[in-house]
Symmetry: C2
């Protein structure tokens, strides 16, 4: 008994009621004191579930031990002795007794499960006399010495740090000598011999005899568990996982029960439901006549739990009943360890089971229907990232384990894709048309004129580029799995092959990629294709919709994207990037003609020719989103993006000039001269448009003001399409979005010009009524800072957090992600990648300012976000917090965003 | 008399006391009611100064007239008639009387002088009969008809809009017919004839006869003045000058007096002091027997005022007395018009005189000493820009008027320079050494290896680049006048000439440039060289120093800059750009070796070799700034700025490869191959360092973290220099400034590394005590937004408003200033260039946030600005307003900033 009655370190499993009372009934406080494992054992005891008697040494003891320079605090050992006596009386065995010995296990157990700490020592209490006695009493000498050698090995390796391999080597040598392949070939004498060897090894390594006194064993094991809390691996893990270092671990001392005591003994693990699919069935594996570690180690072939129902129906029923009670008690699927000792069932552990995303969703929904949990609880359980699983094919996990990994890059667009390597867009398109020739397009990087190849391909791989590279943006846009920026990847267009280190993959060979983790495998791996029509997910997302306040919109440039977005639950289009329409193969020549025009008339002709295709794009969008807002951003990128690259042009010109020297016919010379003239003209234009920092250059509204013919054409296309739809009875809500505004005057002047065009189109069509708004991106820091001014001429704001983050940090993302940002993240200078998760303190502060200032001068202002952060759960939580009206993300992230928005509303 | 006695529109000059009383004695309200001219005339009357009798129709009358659709408001005309009668009785003449006629002038006069409005009509009251009577009474028919034809011409052109040229053509034709070259050749008959023609012209253009009734003349003239308030030119002017449109103009009706009534008559203008130099002497010009406009028109050669003292000593004394009284009354130098009519002196106008910067300063200081104004008043009067005059040579204004202007560009570094064109740096240096061969270096753009040429040149001209181009920065740094970005400038290095349109200037020819307005002239223009040792300026700036709260520091990279800065009154160095030291010719190879190093050892050797020169630079700075803080910014620019440009390298490589084909000797081939290898190595490095948006790339602290050996070397150099100086008894206060910080962790991690180096250096030197601080630039928006966090690890903040403006606006300045920014300013989208004057609403808001947040967590935080705005008066006012501690600007702007800071403190 403790000298100071107010401090108590040791609790019997059966004392859970007292413990709970001492911490005011708080379950978390119980776990903090007893650790997860100890608390669950006590909990089971109190439910009347058969748990081998035992006790827990609290985390407080660990803390005091460490604080006292690794000395057991005052009363602790006395309490342990008392607790051992209590077990002895419960089991009617005695610790260290040679006739009727009590053996115990010693296990660590912190509040949270935590790798890196000392784990388990079984069979404590054995020594030469006790082993002999146990052999006598059990009538099974082999059993007794098998237990004894395990104790010496575990104690030696785990407590004293003797290398495990040395013990294993002895067993292997013994087997070889006997010519047997498994431990089954060993008899009692062999184990006794091995036990003796083990003790010698122990002495050699530790310089001391193996402790024969069972209490010494127990004390040393307990101290070792305490010390392991501050072991390097445990500290590293806590640092990484953000677990405080001052919690300490508990120690659980529990009576050993034995599943290896003959045919009416067994041991196993079981889950209360199927953790792969979520189905309501008890599942697990067990072994007759075995100890627990044998099941996990996979040395012997286990049997499915169903077999137990056949062979021990009563025990099975008892276990099934316990599993159901534990599920009800914990309101969660349980992962349980059990042992059957000579016909008697014992539970050794229970905990919430790990499960797949698919199972998580189904179990959550099922448990709501079973009345176990509330809808809110179900929503809280499923992480938004888990929804992603339903949206993309996955590589089959077993196949992945066996596959040859050949490279890794940035995981820019999730999902798995399997196909034949095609090294250019034309080939990708040709092959890709054929159902039997799925293609992975592999390029150094992609450009607008590769898009048709990307569309035809199942997936995309590049050696260059970052998360906002063209390849990444387009791949995400179209839901194509993609891995980009694989630095080690060499692409040899002469030999038509790609090389990754020593591996050569020829064009046409199969590869498999996983865009969710950025890995590339050689060969054709099988895939799993989950889908969003999963009824459980649909129900869950419906519940999410009831809870969330934020609307979820989608970024979609084409009618087919819009249709998918709507299917996935998007409530509007938050961003249609009109320039993507310009990049289409048949339109590029028109766009280039516009840029190259020497005369206004020529330019206006090209612009006029772009009107009909733009109009039909918008019509498609409006039809797909009938009755919902469609936000169309006017032309954003700098013009030079539509022209060939300067370096390429310069090289082509140089080549043409060289060629000229070798020509003989006048016709050829004339032709080449003409080509040179044309290229020179393009080169001059490219040079004139070239900018030192194109990200901060002439684009967005700056271009729209300079080239208002173009934005006027776009607005005309939008409203002519709107008129056509309205005439058919389709409700259309166009929102015209002006990008890159930094000063209210930019928006004012551009809006005036465009609003005139709108009025004109409507007047041409009998002043038909169409509800529309003009608004702006908030993506330049100054726009956020002067949101009060800008809001007076904007119907809505949409935060373009990609650019806003770049400018606020002063970081060019593509440059940085292949440069200093890696080091910054590795060294913890930046905790998160601010391009993946909104930077609350910096960019977030700016957003908050903008929301407050904007609403101050325009209380009706509608505010959303259309940067990539709109699909990131943590960023969505922030958007909720600062009072945005909606988030807009890629169609494939809409379901994730719906759940994340619900989480935000629930304060998860 | 007005029907409603509370409204009164017309005031006699003599009624000033009543007017003043009616507006509560407020002088500004008097001017608002009577206009500036009317108020001054009334004021002079009240001082007993001889002013021809007259009255003012108030601005209220104008407002009511315009509000009533251009009808004279109710009682106005009655009041005018009464006022005319009052003048009649004062002058004992009668309006329209053929025997003793009163003639009057009619002049507009708004609160502020304002071009674009109807100005003056003289001689109102003449018709055929009155003219005949006047001829009789004066005995001078020529005089009478000269007045009459002037009235018809002025009334026709000014009131009725008849083209002035038509009248002039008649006079010219008449002269030609007579064969005379000036009006002196005309006699009475000629003027009578011309008067008749003028009336015909009047009838032809207006469809009506010239109004014979003097009252019709007066009414029409008054109405025309009122209407001209809303004329297009006046409205445009008010828009541009920010004058409200609802003020209205007053009309002054005044008795005509005549300086052209013989040898005892005269007319002239005079200033109460010399407005060029500020000397205390009455100066002016006059003509005997002439009307006022003749003096201004420059038709006749005027006489200096001294002549009047000779010829009419009494009148001169009277005038000098009046001038002195007016100066005392207005406490300012007066610009006066006077007329002597037959021996009697009349003052027709007085106003504050316009003056040169030099005169402004001297007059302000003199008037303080004379007790006329307070020091504060003197400070208020001198605009900071006027101080600039004392700092740079100026082109001689008369010479400029005659010179051939050949081009204009950006005025990036003020002052005039005259020299011979040198088209490369080597030549500039060779010639520039010779006192007799001053050089203007002309280049397409400049680079680090042009700096020695720029130093040797008197001025710099480039065809490319903007306000932050290398040429602009370096030129400002060294106070070299510069004009950059002259788009029309072609430089032909083959022919060694420059072309601007049709003008060809050969190398060695003289040109003159004015960096204050960006103009380039052909030839060797004379210059004026004012200087800062002007004792008046020194006194004024001393008074400024007493008043201001902001400290003024300087940006200086070299000891010679620091010395100048100190001479000009800098209280510290706010920015020493260490990379400028790297650009020096003998150090570049070391810097390049460091960048190109393949092995860390090689790199560290190069870095070590840079230590001694850096140390000696810093020693020089510390000596120059003894006892004052010196802020040294660690390396900022991206590494590729120290390597040749990619395009150039690629071209050189291509050339070498071509050359290889033509070589015959093995030795030459080997040598060329080696050159190719070297260049290829450099090219690869340049390619690797290339960034899409270098402004947002790997530079500043990002580089410092990656390459901490380099920043550690810089810190070592700083503190070894500090130790050396301290040992000599020189007080040194180094402030180490870390650039481009966006996240507190960047600063923390870099500071830790550097602080260790500091401790190390101090330990190596017996732990000598040196007061130092570490601080950071605030130039990334995120730094401003998270200033509270950053301030916890910074001793000072220095706003880098160049980059802060670029990032906050999302504008790359160099790109923008040759692109869309021109249109933005032309169209008024941006009122000011935000790179010249701080953008209060956007960037300013961010600064204010940062100051508040930074001081909240670190009340001792010292805050300044070192961007170019630190030398801009309006920006300085803002810095004062948000509570900065200091501004830092180029040495040449320090005196300006001292005055601007005083203005800020005075709330000017």
């Amino acid at each position: 008994m403790p000298a100071d009655s107010s401090v108590r370190y040791v609790y019997q499993f059966s004392e859970i009621a007292a413990v709970r009372a001492s911490v005011g009934g708080d379950w978390q406080a119980v776990r903090a004191l007893l650790g997860g494992k100890g608390a669950n054992l006590a909990e089971m005891s109190s439910l009347g579930i058969p748990v081998p008697p035992g006790f827990t040494i609290s985390t407080a003891a660990c803390r005091d031990f460490l604080a006292a320079d690794a000395r057991l605090p005052g009363t602790l050992w006395d309490e342990v002795l008392a607790a051992v006596r209590a077990i002895e009386s419960a089991t009617r065995k005695r610790f260290g007794d040679r006739d009727n010995p009590l053996l115990v296990s010693c296990r660590s157990g912190a509040r949270q499960s935590m790798p890196g700490m000392m784990d388990t020592i079984l069979n404590i209490g054995l020594n030469d006399e006790v082993a002999a006695g146990l052999a006598r009493r059990s009538g099974d000498e082999r059993f007794a010495f098998d237990l004894y050698r395990r104790l010496v090995q575990m104690f030696g390796s785990v407590v004293m740090g003797v290398p495990d391999e040395v013990f294993d080597a002895v067993i292997t040598a013994q087997r070889n000598r006997l010519g047997v392949t498994s431990d089954a070939g060993m008899d009692a004498a062999h184990w006794r011999l091995i036990t003796a060897r083990f003790k010698e090894i122990y002495r050699t390594y530790t310089g001391a005899d193996f402790p024969a006194d069972p209490y010494d064993q127990l004390r040393l094991a307990t101290e070792a568990v305490f010390r392991s809390w501050n072991g390097k691996r445990a500290v590293d893990y806590r640092n990484a996982a953000g677990i405080p270092h001052d919690l300490g671990t508990a120690v659980n001392i529990q009576t050993m029960v034995f599943g290896n005591m003959g045919a009416n003994s067994a041991t196993g693990v079981a889950m209360s439901r199927n953790v792969s699919t979520g189905e309501r069935e008890l599942e697990g594996d067990f072994l007759f006549d075995a100890q627990g570690e044998d099941v996990v180690a996979g040395i012997r072939l286990t049997q499915p739990l169903a077999q137990l129902a056949q062979q021990m129906p009563e025990i099975y029923r008892e276990f099934a009943g316990i599993a159901a009670r534990l599920e009800t008690h914990y309101r969660n699927v349980q992962d349980m360890e059990f042992t059957i000792e000579q016909g008697r069932l014992w539970l050794l552990q229970t905990r919430d089971a790990k499960r797949t995303a698919q199972a998580e969703v189904r179990i959550a929904v099922d448990m709501v229907e079973e009345g176990l949990i509330t809808r809110e609880e179900a929503l809280r359980r499923v992480r938004p990232e888990q929804v992603d699983f339903f949206l993309h094919p996955q590589l089959e996990p077993d196949a992945v384990r066996r596959a040859e990994l050949i490279g890794s890059g940035l995981n820019v667009s999730p999902g798995a894709a399997v196909g034949m390597v095609a090294l250019d867009a034309a080939l990708a398109q040709r092959w890709g048309r054929d159902e039997d020739k799925p293609v992975i397009m592999v390029r150094p990087e992609t450009k607008p004129d590769d898009v048709h190849g990307m569309l035809a391909a199942r997936g995309v791989v590049t050696s260059r580029g970052g998360r906002t590279s063209h390849a990444a943006l387009v791949a995400r846009q179209f839901g194509k799995p993609a891995v980009v920026g694989i630095e080690a990847l060499e692409i040899d267009l002469e030999r038509r092959e790609m090389r990754l280190g020593d591996v050569v993959v020829r064009e046409g060979d199969w590869i498999s990629i996983d865009g969710s983790n950025g890995l590339v495998y050689v060969g054709k791996l099988p895939t799993l294709v989950p889908d969003l029509s999963n009824t459980y997910l649909i129900r869950l997302l419906e519940w999410a919709d009831e809870v969330r306040r934020l609307e979820v919109w989608a970024n979609a440039d084409y009618p087919r994207d819009a249709a998918r977005a709507r299917l996935y639950g998007a409530q509007g289009i938050g961003l249609c990037r009109t320039e993507h329409m310009f990049f289409e193969a048949e339109r590029m020549p028109l766009v280039q003609r516009m840029i190259m025009a020497r005369e206004p008339s020529e330019r206006n002709e090209a612009i006029a020719a772009l009107l009909p295709p733009q109009r039909s794009d918008f019509e498609g969008l409006f039809r797909a989103m009938e009755g919902r807002p469609v936000t169309i951003r006017l032309l954003d990128p700098p013009l030079h993006e539509f022209l060939p690259a300067y370096d390429e042009l310069a090289e082509e010109l140089a080549n043409l000039k060289v060629r000229l020297q070798h020509l003989r016919s006048i016709a050829e010379i004339d032709e080449t001269l003409e080509q040179i003239r044309v290229k020179q003209h393009v080169l001059e234009r490219v040079r004139a448009l070239r900018e030192q920092n194109p990200m901060l250059g002439t684009r967005g509204v700056r271009l729209g003001i300079q080239l208002s013919e173009l934005t006027r054409m776009q607005v005309r296309a939008i409203f002519e399409a709107a008129v056509a739809c309205t005439r058919e009875g389709i409700v259309v809500m166009p929102q015209v979005m002006i990008p890159l505004v930094g000063h209210v005057n930019e928006l004012r002047i551009q809006r005036e010009v465009l609003e005139r065009e709108v009025k004109q189109v409507l007047a041409e069509n009998g002043n038909i009524r169409i509800p529309y708004t003009f608004g702006t991106m908030i993506e330049v820091p100054r726009a956020a800072l002067t949101a009060d001014e800008i809001a007076t001429v904007a119907g809505f704001f949409s935060f373009g957090t990609n650019d806003l983050t770049q400018m606020t940090f002063g970081i060019s993302r593509d440059d940085a992600e292949r440069g200093f940002m890696r080091e910054y993240q590795a060294r913890g200078i930046l905790e998160d990648n601010p391009f993946a998760t909104l930077d609350r303190n910096g960019v977030g502060r700016l957003m908050r300012l903008a929301v407050e200032a904007g609403r101050a001068t325009n209380p009706q202002l509608h505010i959303g976000i259309c940067g990539e952060h709109g699909g990131d759960p943590r960023s969505i939580a922030f958007c909720h917090e600062i009072g945005l009206d909606y988030v807009s993300c890629s169609p494939y992230r809409v379901p994730i965003a719906r759940l994340a928005a619900a989480h935000a509303a629930l304060g998860v």
